[in-house]
Symmetry: D3
Subunit: 260 residues, 6 copies
């Protein structure tokens, strides 16, 4: 995928701002597209409900700009059944999210896209997204799409990038936790500085633990956090997390686009 | 719904920037929420692929701010099967969109939301959204949710508001057309002035007509427009459309929130 | 569609009375078929539960005979979830009706039918039917059916024909209402004169209003009517409604069959 | 189930001609309802495509009148995938028919019906109908319907009644066959005497055999018959078949209604 | 199907012990495969919960060895919704089992298998299995599989083989019953002699009767048996039942494999 | 979970050999159950197609016996869409496997089981199984099952146990690979020594890499292996892998059963 072959005009890489002839020209040389995938779910007593979508989209925008790869608008609703005990959470059932992602990938494959790079901000989406990719491959082949044999999807979880996790461990140690972590909250502070006003000292983090049904979740983690101390988050750290995530995913995306 | 009862702190009405305790407090007095629903689909040779989502979200933001009603992040992908002949279109099958909207409404009903106001930017979503509301009512009742007997959903199509349609007729007459209309393109120019660079004179609009499968669609409407002349669009007109749409929907939303 | 090309033998246009070789010959010249679609649901304290299916089928029979177009047996069960609070209502969930209509259309497309004209008697079916058409187009294309590129479906709601609505307004004014309307009840009286014995003066019509879940429906409209006064219905008016509906739909069907 | 307890007014037992308060009164004493289930599929070169629905409905009407049990309008479309190689066949996939029957039964159970008696005219529906009953029991229980513990469904295939089969064997011997049988064709001649004009001598019946996919079906049974000679059918025999079927099913229905 | 053409090496006919190149060679000459299908459900107070899967698999192994036909591992979970009132029952809903069997058949058809012989041990699976076969034929054809026109499935219920039923009648008369029958329990004793320790004299068998929902089932048949007296079972009789079932199904399988 | 409280009679822990009253007694003290989950898919040119089910079941049996926990019969068919290019593979689509596992878990929860421990032998099942658990929690709660708030599922992949992976790395280094690994093949040799005859020296292992559609899979990995050298496998090593896996999972199961 050579960025130089792209017509220079559409400097903004957001699909929503392109026209269809521009996409048609893009596809003559490039076959990759980024899909930001988030979730709209509680993030502890002080974190923004949109954290997972805001962060995935932010990372996706930087990766798109640096990689010269088209990026779709974010899918802000994901699989968050286990958070339904907290007001504001909007969740798709796994089978719904599976159908949604399958339809999105098949739509893109129909046009000739061959590399679908899903930048994900929510651990709860991972299993379902992987299942959806498999159904998308099958569907594309069943439909006889020309791109089907070369269609590949990849799930890129920014928060699991080694450079991100290492930095979080260094800054927060065990207080990073599993949900409503200071690293993701920090990134939202960088994006929306006003969110810092919502932070406040919190009691000891709830113990880390497993995730089952939503009633069980609220019992185990009464304020929504899992082992984390989001009060440690700062906008400056958020900027660093964004940079580290974007750098890691840019490299990963290049490998994905160039791999056979 | 009395805005004064809302705690003044979260002046921004975007759900994604709230915390769950803020939503919990909101629900003590208010039961309404706005869901912006768009589509990611071709909008003629010069229009932005994201037009339907960008416009629905823009209207939703203004309505939310003026009405002091919580607004969810936009769902940018809708039912656009008939546009799949044009690169860049990402479509959910009707049964997928049905499940998605049903899950979203049921999630909200679980928390106690009783009035779900869907601000929609795409005609192709209308049938499926209405079917989804019915399944959501059933599901909420089956689950025994306390809010189920009072749960109501409403589809508000900004582009069908009489004040919007009258203005479009006055400005563009028959050249308003059915798809990639100058009114919706104008609104995107107001939001993203750079889009104006993509406009160019177009040949005579294709005749208006019916919508069937996507192969048929591309045959009938080879450049994606349906009877429209988007080159008439201006950012100034877009601002006026936004104002008219927001005014109309604010009133409609008040009636919806206050109705028994 | 030229009726003269049809073999004269099968003078009855009901598909259920034809043989498959007759259908095969019909398809050599004609590609249209009528599907009557109704609902089996309460129609107020004095109206027949089968009103929507009886009326749709009656209109369909007249249209078929005058237009020389094959007509399938009526589908008497539709989407009536909101009427489930009243005994006798039999409802299909939206996703079930969607699958049913999709399967019916795809069956017909497999044989070479290209114009599916659904004569509908129930507003509650409209959204789901439109969604089903889209899925049918996709399915037909996925199956590689030869007719797929030319397959078109149309929903024809007899009760919304301008000539019908104008007459109802003239006869009943606001007492026409929204459900269990005197116009549809009149048509059933024309078909089944004995039904007139069930009519009786009713208290003031319930106010018109929105439709949500079935518990809400029964609260708002305790006897099942929505803003209507079915006691105004007469068999003579019913005959006139049938004539007006059939005339309007015959014209509409011709346009549909002849359109490219 | 005592017919004398029924209010005498509605002498016609067709649900579609009743009002909801009449159904409500019926349910005070009786819990049974008949659902006629057919299919719309080829019946050999001389048989009516609607045979299975016409016969099931005819039997159902007689049973309803003699048993004083409410009868729903017929469901004319069933599972006929194996007949899709012949024009005019309209088939629901098994999973669609399953959902349809489940929804119908659950609707009726919601109102308090406890005995659902499906009079079926098509062998191809049997497997799916039985599967649907199981899902209906589960759904009714999941919804917490008061009638759920007493809900029972029964599939009554009129053509398999011993008195019917014995008579067919006596009249036609091996030429009764499996599909487009003279017995069912005879019943349609009794109902629609004009259909006799379509009969004509046919070549030797195709051998009986198994049913697999529709391509295989048309190969094995090129004119649509399976081992039958429908030219033997007469309207007089049809009347006798109707009488025998109705008598057998009336007795069976009484047992079903009275069983614990 | 000529066993002599099979490469002699894989003397064990269990698919799970073969390699894919061995299957590839097998398919050059043979197109048949056996699928054992059972259920995991209560079998009365003294019978093994796995009875239906153990017996189906035992019969399938003998049939495979004698017929030189490949046999898949058993599917131990089937449709047992009506037994869910008894601990240990694990049931798939009809629509789940339908999808499972459809996917299995389509997988095999993809490789070139054309004759799928399902040896079934549970009456409750029969309806759903037949529906699944139909959907598998359709799916295989939709996918354009080369084997689709020749794909055939057959359900072989070992317990309904005439030689089995006659022997059961002779040994047990009416005490054979319908569920947890001495014949099937006997077969399990032959397979697992230790199970005999669980047998004990039981009170009079519950009356035979219909099967509806699981609450109704447990009311009618409080200890899980239906009209049977499993205390009559012996391992010796079980050996005889296995022999009779295998003999009958071997012949049936040969006919199935050789039929056009 | 105290084994001493279990009645000593059923020394065999296989659910299929228990009666329902035995399960009922078990549930008075213990709430755990093991579900072995495998796959039936190609395992390279020399490995058994049933490897994943055979190994999962073998580990499960040892864990059950040592832990005194009930174990269900193995589910031998899993999600193996990517292996469908190789004969003998039988695959469930992700949405089918999701429904299957959901139904199994909900069945068990209905009886009072609260800890479902899935011992899995196939990486391809992991995503779907996790999605299924979420839907099972929701379904159990929707059904109002008493066990719902305490229902927990856990996926235990024996091949990912640290003690297993360390040993594989020590024995095989990079030749362990990703699919048809010597460690899993070794375990099958321990279970079925005859399988060793199928082993033979293989060309250099294919490079490791990603998994997409099945056409792509067969292109990348022409003989089915992914980076592995199964010719290194020995039965003795297989016994050691079984021991290490069982030991690790016994400890993990105890923690799972005792955790709040």
């Amino acid at each position: 995928m050579s960025a130089t072959r792209i017509t220079p005009e559409p400097r903004d890489w957001r699909l929503q701002l392109w026209t269809w002839p521009e996409v048609e020209r893009y596809l003559e040389y490039d076959k990759g597209v980024i899909l930001p995938l988030g979730s709209t779910e509680q993030h502890g007593p002080t974190g923004a409900i949109g954290t997972d979508a805001l962060t995935a989209d932010a990372v996706a925008q930087v990766v798109a700009e640096r990689s010269h790869v088209l990026v779709a608008p974010p899918q802000a609703f994901g699989m968050a059944e286990h958070h339904l005990g907290f007001p504001g959470t909007i969740s798709l059932q796994p089978s719904t999210l599976l159908a949604l992602l399958r339809d999105m990938v098949v739509s893109l494959a129909r046009h000739g896209f061959e590399r679908i790079y899903v930048i994900n901000g929510h651990g709860g989406n991972m299993a379902t997204a992987r299942a959806a990719f498999i159904e998308a491959y099958d569907r594309a082949a069943s439909l006889g799409l020309a791109s089907a044999p070369r269609l590949r999807c990849k799930l890129a979880n920014w928060f699991l990038a080694p450079a991100v996790m290492a930095h979080a461990r260094q800054l927060y140690g065990a207080r990073e936790g599993q949900h409503a972590t200071p690293s993701e909250i920090a990134l939202t502070l960088h994006l929306y500085p006003d969110l810092a006003r919502k932070l406040e000292p919190l009691p000891e983090p709830a113990p880390v633990g497993p995730i089952h049904g939503w009633e069980d979740f609220r019992c185990r983690y009464p304020d929504g956090r899992m082992g984390s101390d989001p009060s440690l988050a700062t906008a400056a750290a958020g900027q660093e997390f964004l940079e580290r995530a974007a750098t890691a995913l840019c490299e990963d995306l290049q490998r994905f686009l160039q791999a056979p």
